[in-house]
Structures are given as C-alpha cells and as structure tokens.
C-alpha cells in the first residue's frame, strides 16, 4: 500500500463533466485529483463514441467525442490535476464534520486518499467488462474465468481460451501465448476489429501451430467447483463440441455498472444520486454528484447540464475549503486574478 494522498478535492470519474470540474474548482484555488477505472480520460465520449460528432456543445457547431475530450484536457492544463487511471473508487468513509467535511477514500488498488470534498462524476457508473450470459460462469470467476489479466504468471502452463475479436482479445492471446501451455483464440467470425499487425501476428502463430484459432461461440462450461475443465462450443456449422481449457478470458467490451457507489450511504433514486439544484450536493455534506450520475427534478443527461452543475458545486466546495474567504464573482475575460491562474495574464 502506498502513502495516503491528501487533496482538497477528489473527483471520481474523468468523463467530460469530471474534467470540467477540475476547471471550475481550479478557478477557485481548489486542487484536484481525478480517478477513473478506464485507462484514459473522457468517459463515454472517449470510450463509446470518440469519432462521432456532438452537435449541442455551446459554441461548437460540431465536435467529435474525442475532440471535446482533447479540448477539455487542454483547458484544464493550467490547474495540473493529478490523474489516477485504471483505478476504481471502492469505498468512502466520512472522517470530518458537516461543517468541515473530510473523507477517506480507498481504491481497488488500496490507494488511500484523504480529501476535503468529493465530487462524484461517475456518469452511468464505472465501465466494467461485459459478462457473457453463460450458465454457471459465476462459479469460475477469479479462479478460471477472468475479464482482465492482472498477472501473466497466473496463466503459466495453463490451457487458455480467449474469446473475442477486438484488440483486448488479440493482445492477450498473443501475450499469453508466451507463458501458457496452449492458447486458443475463439471468435464468431474470421474477421477482426483488432489492429492489423496483431491479427497478422496471430495468423502467423496459428500457421506455425503455436496457437489455435477456432470459429465458434461458448455456450456452456464444464468443470468441478471453481475449476474449469472445458468449454462447450457451438461451431460455425451449428454443431456443438467440447474444448478442453482451464482458463477462460471472454472479451465482449464494456458496460456501465453503478458499482460500489451504491454502498456509500448516499440517497439514490433508480440508481442515480439525488442532489439539490443549488449546489448539486448529496445528502452527505461535502459530497457532490454531477453529470449523468445525478438526478433532480428536470434532470437532462447532457454534457452542457453537467458543465453548469460543476460550476455551482465548486462555489459550495469553496466554502468548505476556505470558510473564511469571501468568494467574489468574477469573469475569466476581465479578472486579472483568474487570468493569472489560467496562466494567460
């Protein structure tokens, strides 16, 4: 476990709204750390529709999902946020008082943060791997079925079945081929979305008989307890056969799940966090919820609504962090002190 990280604000989620929260907090001298379970910033815009145009960002007649994220990253640069990717916020424990809130936040990597305010910008929830609806798969998870590879060593000497046709499937099939007894890649068709060089590398290994490629889909699993012994596969011709394996890695993309947020003691309404519309604060003073994750009368899940929400939440956060400082309303166009913070004066 690493040392405790202390910060003014911790932002859960690096989607567009979490990113803009860095900006609004930064203008009020509040430094932020940002956490996301994804390996990069941008939330839904970057993960689900990087190439698609968005038409309702004020001031941008059209901008792609990734374009917006790139611009936001540039816009928040002056505030030097610290990003922690590939990390999920697991638990939140209040350690302050309602007047002077503080929270101890722990991630799934057991990194501990102590923060004055917590800004939950978790969107539709954390992106998590889709689980194939195969009967009994739960029993094998963690011992024989994995949705991500944490340690390659765990696969040494095993018969690994990798299912999928994207970059994750191809990359892991190629990497694990070096340590596993045998790797079989299975996909429903002989066409891949993965990078062409990975596909070529896979085809070469298959031609050299150092890897197997099977056309088909897993329909069932066999094994005892949590030890997998094989997969029941429906082949291209519709016939079913057994494929022996003792490790299965299905890669079917990501879906958004609320995840641990449900256990943080916050008032929820249909899996969304209830907030007021003055400060976008939850029932727990010092915890704000902004963007797609929150709900209030009239809520619209739009990026522009999230931007508005963080501006107001930041005002309240300032009062917790600088209780003795009066907050002056200022424009970035004309305030020399704001411009100094932005590095443009």
């Amino acid at each position: 476990m690493s040392d405790i990280i202390k910060t003014d604000a911790l932002i859960v989620g690096a989607g567009p709204v979490g990113l803009f929260a860095v900006f609004e907090l930064g203008l009020l001298d509040i430094k932020a750390h940002v956490l996301d379970i994804l390996p990069m910033a941008g939330g839904q815009c970057a993960e689900l529709y990087p190439e698609k145009p968005i038409y309702d960002i004020p001031g941008f007649p059209t901008i792609t999902g990734q374009g917006l994220v790139d611009n936001l990253m540039k816009q928040i640069e002056p505030f030097h946020p610290t990003f922690h990717f590939n990390e999920m916020v697991a638990s939140v424990e209040p350690i302050g008082t309602p007047e002077a809130p503080a929270f101890r936040v722990t991630t799934d990597n057991e990194q501990v943060f102590e923060t004055r305010v917590l800004v939950i910008a978790a969107g539709g929830g954390s992106f998590q791997p889709k689980k194939p609806p195969i009967a009994g798969i739960d029993a094998y998870e963690g011992t024989s079925v994995f949705y991500a590879v944490r340690k390659m060593e765990n696969f040494r000497g095993r018969r690994v079945l990798v299912v999928g046709g994207g970059d994750s499937a191809l990359d892991w099939a190629l990497n694990l081929q070096k340590v596993a007894e045998r790797v079989t890649l299975m996909h429903r068709r002989d066409a891949f979305r993965a990078a062409p060089h990975s596909v070529n590398a896979m085809r070469e290994l298959v031609a050299a008989k150092q890897m197997d490629f099977v056309l088909g889909q897993v329909t069932g699993l066999t094994g005892e307890g949590d030890h997998l012994s094989g997969a029941i596969v429906r082949g291209e011709d519709g016939m079913t056969f057994d494929l022996p394996c003792n490790a299965l890695l299905p890669f079917f993309g990501l879906t958004m799940k609320l995840g641990p947020i449900a256990d943080w003691g916050l008032n929820l309404h249909e899996n969304l966090i209830s907030v007021d519309t003055e400060k976008f604060e939850t029932n727990e003073p010092g915890i704000f919820a902004v963007g797609d994750i929150n709900t209030y009368p009239g809520k619209l899940k739009l990026i522009l609504s999230g931007f508005h929400e963080v501006a107001l939440a930041a005002q309240r956060a300032h009062r917790y962090i600088y209780p003795d400082k009066k907050l002056l309303f200022q424009y970035t166009t004309s305030s020399s002190s704001l411009q100094k913070k932005l590095g443009v004066s």
């Binding site: 689900l48 529709y49 698609k52 539709g124 889709k130 689980k131 194939p132 609806p133 999928g164 046709g165 994207g166 996909h187 429903r188 068709r189 066409a191 979305r193 889909q217 329909t219 079917f252 993309g253 879906t255 958004m256």
Partner: protein
C-alpha cells in the same frame, strides 16, 4: 405507419406501429417493448439492441454495414440472423417485419 412484430424469448408477441425514418430500436423503446436496452442510444456502440430477424425476413433486409458487424462481436449468442435493431430503419419496405429479442442483452 409500419407494423413491426417483436417476439420475446418466452414466445410472447407484441405488434407495434413504427414511424418511417425511425429505427426498429427506437420503435421498441417508444412502445415499451421489453428485451431491448439500447444503452448507447442508437450509436452502434453497445450491442444491447441485439435482435434475431425472423427467418422469413432475413433475406429481405438490407445487409449489415461493417460497423454493425463489428459491434455484433460484443453481443452474445450471435446467429446468422443477428442484427442490431438501431441499425434497421423503419420504412414501407419492412412493413410486417418480425424480430425475436434474445433472453438477455448481456
């Protein structure tokens, strides 16, 4: 108005009217047809609007674009008749279309 028939995994059939130009996915949501989630709102980015086109219709729809084929890789129990309903446009040519919704969208 174009008629579209959704049959769920238990065999229950629901016949609804779709507007020309809308998608089959939108028609399902608008009429509260269960079994279609459409997490991404029709951007061909989630594969949770997966349907099986009835055999009688399979050859009568325009073929799936490569983007749809790619996204079908993220659906489960994909069959030759699998389609993403957000990529099928409602038009007079598909009046009476029959699609089956899967047991689970994943």
């Amino acid at each position: 108005m174009v008629q579209i028939i959704f049959i769920d995994s238990t065999g229950q059939s629901r016949s609804v009217e779709g507007d020309e130009g809308a998608t089959v996915m939108e028609t399902a949501l608008k009429n509260s047809v269960p079994g279609i989630e459409a997490e991404c709102g029709g951007a061909c980015a989630c594969a949770t609007c997966h349907v099986y086109v009835d055999e009688s219709w399979a050859a009568r729809l325009p073929e799936a674009q490569p983007m749809e084929e790619d996204m079908l890789d993220f659906a489960f129990d994909v069959r030759p008749t699998s389609r993403l309903s957000c990529q099928i446009r409602v038009s007079g040519a598909i009046d009476g279309l029959v699609v089956h919704t899967p047991e689970r969208q994943g």
